[in-house]
């Protein structure tokens, strides 16, 4: 398990070097989207319309932050549970989405799509939202302001900490980790 620094956008060749269990520090732009925004994005794709941002080689962060206090860039901003996005993620991966950041397991269809499209899934530490917010340097709502916490934001991040859960080779940290520490009586 390595410690790696990456910059977005990121190519399929670079992403393939990351392995399940790696500690990754992300610098660059990442986009936020959770339940309601995903629904709208996929509806746009189904209608053959353009997405509000260029998704190719980018990362999406599943988060709905708290409102920023005066003078702050953003409020607390930890990951939300990812499986609720499973229905939508393969469509976005097919468009070149390179990585997703959230917490919790993905279904087999999403895992297969990540291997096929050379993309990865990363976990940020759920509930460490005040700490995580420190690595977010800029935040701007770029779509769906009416969704409030669920609006799509463009975040500029520096050394944003994540752990690779699913890599492009089909490995899954959650399965490996639990198997390693399980005690069977």
């Amino acid at each position: 398990m390595a410690t790696v620094k990456v910059t977005t956008p990121i190519s399929p060749e670079e992403i393939a070097k990351l392995k399940a269990g790696d500690q990754v520090f992300i610098t660059g732009v990442i986009y936020t989207a959770r339940d309601a925004a995903h629904k709208r994005l996929v509806e746009l794709v189904e209608q053959g319309k353009e997405l509000p941002f260029d998704i190719k080689d980018q990362f999406i962060y599943f988060v709905g932050p708290t409102p920023a206090k005066p003078g702050k860039v953003i409020g607390s901003a930890g990951p939300t549970t990812s499986y609720r996005m499973d229905k939508y993620s393969p469509t976005l991966l097919d468009l070149g989405l390179r990585g997703m950041i959230g917490k919790g397991s993905r279904n087999q269809e999403v895992k297969n799509s990540m291997v096929k499209n050379k993309a990865i899934y990363m976990a940020a530490v759920g509930g460490a939202a005040a700490l995580i917010a420190r690595s977010i340097k800029e935040a701007e709502v770029i779509a769906y302001e009416d969704l409030g916490p669920e609006a799509i934001r463009r975040l500029q991040v520096e050394d944003f900490p994540v752990i690779v859960v699913n890599d492009t080779h089909g490995n899954d940290l959650y399965e490996q980790g639990a198997a390693k520490y399980e005690i069977v009586d």
Binding site: T66, G127, A130, P149, E182
Partner: protein, 280 residues
């Protein structure tokens, strides 16, 4: 009869919801430190250290521990000799939630209709459970209940013949199914007995107990200990990355059951067990 004006309730609730979201209870923080001394996984220890650092930042800067500042859940004990004046109790609690979530820059996470899904914009309505008790005081317990862990909750109407072994298997299966999703290390809240809704309520109520407290019933206290040990053998670990600390505690509440029924509810809490209590 003692009178209590709703303005006092509103002010108290406004403060409670903010303090609850900024200032993690010492019981949870101490449980993190205890887990740190026993966790074998390096990634697991790393997660626990980050959680401790996060708690410290949130407390010092008065910012939310987690961006999911929760459904505002209240367990209220209303003394039967107390007269609330100036308005309704439910309205007062909701007004306190409204002000607290707005003025505290907490996230508004409630949609007004579960199918239409339009955000109410002020985190109301709260979930309010009221118990009438003796005395002339108003006791309010608040919990900020996150959606991620709430979603990893289950209820089964078991058969009396399933017995305690069946109950244990079901609880372990729930924790296993939840896996990394509810932000482990978790607290497992269990309600056994009563009716369908009573079991669910008991599971929720058990999560309001401090970590480390045991049931007053000796057999149930033993069951809590046994299940905690079993849950922590599953290997899920902090954030599901693998490790020894899957749960910080298991709490069980029971109630008499129908001769035909053995309801079991499992309500999971994430590690950020945010609670506050006030007595007026």
């Amino acid at each position: 009869m003692r009178e209590l004006h709703v303005d006092k309730i509103i002010d108290t609730v406004e403060k409670m919801v903010q303090d609850g979201n900024f200032d993690l209870g010492r019981d949870v923080e101490n449980a993190f430190r205890k887990a740190l001394s026993t966790e074998e996984s390096e990634q697991g220890r790393d997660v626990l250290n980050q959680l401790l650092e996060n708690v410290d930042i949130a407390r010092r800067e008065r910012v939310p521990i987690c961006q999911d500042t929760g459904f505002a859940v209240f367990l209220v004990e209303l003394g039967q000799d107390l007269h609330i004046v100036g308005g309704g109790l439910n309205d007062a609690i909701n007004e306190g939630v409204r002000r607290g979530y707005k003025n505290g820059y907490l996230r508004k996470s409630i949609v007004g209709h579960p199918l239409e899904r339009i955000n109410t914009g002020d985190n109301t309505p709260a979930i309010i459970h009221i118990d009438i008790v003796e005395g002339d005081q108003l006791k309010m317990h608040f919990a900020a209940k996150g959606g991620g862990s709430e979603n990893m909750s289950f209820l089964k109407m078991m058969k009396p013949s399933d017995g305690v072994e069946g109950v244990k298997d079901f609880i372990l299966e729930c924790v296993k199914t939840a896996g990394p999703n509810p932000c482990p290390p978790i607290v497992v809240g269990v309600g056994i007995g009563g009716t369908f809704e009573k079991a669910a309520y008991l599971a929720k109520k058990s999560l309001f107990r401090e970590i480390g407290t045991r049931s007053e019933k000796e057999d149930i206290a033993q069951l809590e200990e046994e299940l905690l040990e079993k849950v922590n053998k599953l290997g899920i670990g902090p954030q599901g990355f693998g490790g020894r600390t899957t749960a910080l505690d298991v709490h069980i509440e029971i109630y008499p059951a129908h001769i035909a029924s053995l309801p079991v509810a499992v309500n999971i809490n994430c590690h950020a067990g945010r609670h506050k209590e006030a007595v007026l």
